[in-house]
């Protein structure tokens, strides 16, 4: 799925009034529009970094754990269980991934990471489905538990091992990387030319074919796979029916408990995979606090994506991209993006005027002017702003898109058979 073009999905979300569905052509048009705008901004500001191949490649790498956590959230919530314990399952994934990875090789590590996350999922399922504990309480408990347990067992597992400390595991062997031979170089050449639009698209696609880990490929494939399973198989239909109306499902002979258990365990496994990616691919070791709240951001990506895999991938891409700004020439690039934001907010203002919502329009114009003033009067933004960008974007995007979302009807509600 695409990563960077979604820098701002706000106009997309905002241009879908009421229940009208955003169809695929419309969505593609919006993405193309934002991409063209981004390209324009790049040329005006001269900040070539914002659509650079390596920028995109980094963004993709950072988007994977977020996307996997979000996908995990999707599976759980489609079955009606809120999974705020994704962060904890992600942590379990990182630990188990690195622990098994440094001893028996990276692929075993990946499997162990999935198993670790699934274990967290199983715990969440037992507590929420069988004992009907509030889903949020259970999730938060799992987050705290996972943090504590991994910290505790690290002292035994990693301390005293060569290159290991109580906070960090010994290095894990790499899974290897690959670039698609001709395509990768070709796209990079086009990207370097600095042409309008063409270079940006080349940068975006280049990110998808350059220095990719096999695990990234697997993660990307899981997004359409999840959609297919949940929406095109009877297993998925049953699972979703548990999240919409479990009583009805039960009356038709669906074993609601079974499907909720399966969904939450799969959810944990996906989060665990995201964790293993962090401790095997993104970094070659486990490090305490490595997840940095990505489980929560994944949940945010899922909500932003309206509980759909495609939207979720867009959201993960957006967050991954803003995250990548931290690593590469952030101060300059974020500064350039201020201009993009100013333009997008202005477009939003025009749209509000067309819908005769004048108060909102005035506010939007004011915000746009302020952002533009910030852009015009400075050369770059402070590093603190760059660090905060992913979180600010998360907040902004969620608060603007949350108005039109439709979550599974029985999500988070306790269910008792009979």
């Amino acid at each position: 799925m695409s990563t960077a073009p979604a820098l701002d999905k706000r106009p997309a979300a905002a241009s879908a009034p009421g229940r009208r569905r955003v169809t695929l052509p419309v969505l593609l048009l919006i993405i193309a529009g934002v991409l063209a705008l981004t390209s324009l901004v790049r040329i005006v500001t001269g900040a070539d970094g914002i659509t650079n191949v390596s920028q995109m490649s980094t963004a993709l790498k950072l988007a994977v754990p977020i996307g996997m956590a979000g996908l995990g959230g999707l599976w759980a919530e489609r079955s009606g269980v809120i999974n705020i314990g994704l962060e904890g399952m992600l942590i379990l994934g990182t630990w188990f991934g690195a622990w098994a990875g440094y001893q028996w090789g990276p692929w075993i590590g990946v499997l162990a990471g999935i198993a670790g996350g699934a274990l967290g999922g199983l715990l969440h399922a037992i507590v929420t489905v069988t004992f009907n504990v509030n889903h949020i309480v259970s999730g938060v408990a799992i987050n705290i538990l996972a943090l504590g347990v991994t910290r505790y067992v690290s002292a035994f597992a990693f301390e005293g091992v060569p290159q290991g400390t109580s906070k960090q595991s010994p290095p894990v062997e790499s899974l290897g990387q690959f670039s698609v031979p001709v395509l990768s170089d070709g796209l990079e050449t086009i990207n370097d030319k600095g042409w309008f639009l063409a270079s940006d698209i080349a940068g975006l696609l280049g990110g998808l074919v350059t220095n990719m880990s096999p695990l990234t490929l697997l993660a990307l494939a899981l997004v359409p796979a999840s959609w297919w399973i949940l929406w095109r198989t009877s297993f998925g239909l049953r699972l979703r029916s548990c999240g919409e109306n479990p009583t009805a499902a039960e009356s038709l002979g669906v074993n609601v408990y079974k499907y909720k258990y399966l969904a939450v365990i799969i959810s944990g496994g996906l989060a665990g995979l995201g964790g293993a990616f962090l401790s095997i691919v993104a970094n070659p070791f486990y490090l305490e606090g490595q997840t940095g709240g990505r489980g929560y951001i994944g949940l945010a990506a899922m909500i932003f994506g309206n509980w759909m895999p495609g939207g979720l991938a867009l959201g993960a891409g957006l967050f991954g991209y803003t995250d990548s700004l931290k690593l590469r020439g952030g101060t300059e690039n974020v500064h350039a993006l201020l201009l993009l934001i100013a333009i997008l907010v202005l477009i939003g203002a025009i749209w509000l005027v067309l819908r005769k919502k004048y108060v909102g329009a005035v506010i939007a114009v004011a915000v746009s002017a302020l952002v533009f003033a910030w852009y015009a009067t400075t050369k770059e933004v402070p590093t603190q702003v760059v660090t905060a960008t992913p979180y600010v974007v998360t907040l902004l995007v969620l608060s603007l898109s949350a108005q039109r979302l439709r979550m599974p009807r029985a999500n988070g509600k306790p269910y008792r058979r009979g």
């Binding site: 239909l237 979703r240 109306n245 009805a248 038709l252 002979g253 669906v254 599974p408």
Partner: protein, 520 residues
Amino acid sequence: MHALCGENGAGKSTLMKILYGMQKPDEGTIAVDGQQVAFASPGDAIARGIGMVHQHFMLADNLTVLENVVLGSEKLHGIGAKARAKIVELSERYGLGVRPDALVENLGVADRQRVEILKVLYRGATTLILDEPTAVLVPQEVDALFDNLRELKAEGLSVIFISHKLGEVLSVADEITVIRRGTTVGTVVPADTTAKQLAELMVGSELPTPETAESTVTDRPVIEVRNLKLLGEGGRALLDDISFTIHEGEVLGLAGVEGNGQTELIDALIGLKGADSGTLRMATGEVGSAGEAAGEPEEITSWPTRRRREQGIGYIPEDRHRHGLLLESPLWENRILGHVTERPNSKGFWLDLKSAQADTRRIVEEYDVRTPGIDVTAASLSGGNQQKLIVGREMSHKPRFLIAAHPTRGVDVGAQAQIWDQIREARREGLAVLLISADLDELIGLSDTLRVIYRGRLVADADPADITPEELGSAMTGAASGHLEHPADESGAAEDRPSGETGDQPEKTEEAAAPEDEAR
């Protein structure tokens, strides 16, 4: 087609749950096609060809009709094109008119019911159980349903039909079993019974009717609504140009299929939603003082809910579990709810628990709430007793204006009669009532004036003295509008009934007056 009759709580639903395998019998046997069977789960019952259409629809809103139908039986025809073809075929064969790809949340009640029936047929059921299928339908939809059922019968299927509406049972069933307090009290054939005999079998005594005695309508307006408009999301009008006046001692009945703006109207009256335009005025103070002494009713459009309630709006909510009660709280706490600032519940800042509890005991006694005590939770009371508690609570604060939304829904016959009595008595004392109900007999029986709401507009009015449920029903579906009269029915019952519209809508008053003149 076999009908099962009985009061609420007589055990009809329990019996059906056992038949459908949702509960297990302690004793006794069930035989299907002469074979003795035991069902451990609905799955077993389905396998035996028994299908159930629940009273509360078992559908997932966010799934399509197709998905709802195939759910649980994906093995039969898959979940794709074959299943769709099968659904279309069934739908055509029985004239159900179901579109497989529509989202259930966009369907009306009658359509949902047809989806439920289709769901059962899809599983190859030969015996259909319908639990109170007509409770949520207007008369025309009921007729359509009966046509569907006759179609099914003609195809050789058996139908078990649960209801407490005697007229329907008599018209549609081939055989009727009446149960009372969990036992069978008789099996009859419709040809040699009357509704009255059936009712006596059912209740064990005479059946109450919602007839009001003489009119008590005065010319003192209590509540005046002018051009009320409420916009929904995206600027769609949920309520448009609603105007009516209710006088002291008048019951205004509002008929309409659910979801046509009733809920929004209540919200606007009680202050949960602010009106986008239009005014609300209400007479405040003691009953009877509204005339010359109190002058014009006060405008309350901008008042918050708390103030409206303190000044005399009583409210019997449509869904007592969501709005009227805290189910997990004791009765006396529920008695305080909604009247926290008023005596006897509070003295200034502090709650006065002692007198609130004493007053709860009074309500329990006066309104015949059957409960072991006032410390039990509201959830442990039956629907009828919960409702009596709510009625008692609202009446205890001497409301000027009562909003009664489905006051007898899910309430047994005994409690129903009591609630009707309460409303009638309060009306005699000068209460203005807005009655919203899906039970057309109740509406016609209790109201002094009738209005029909359709898509957020008041489209028709009628005189309850000379209207039949069928005529009202056709207006509810938008088929008729304006003033409804009963063709060539010269009953003199309308004589001393003021039209209730004095002055505010002259054109309608004239129309309303016309049949009365003819009658004389």
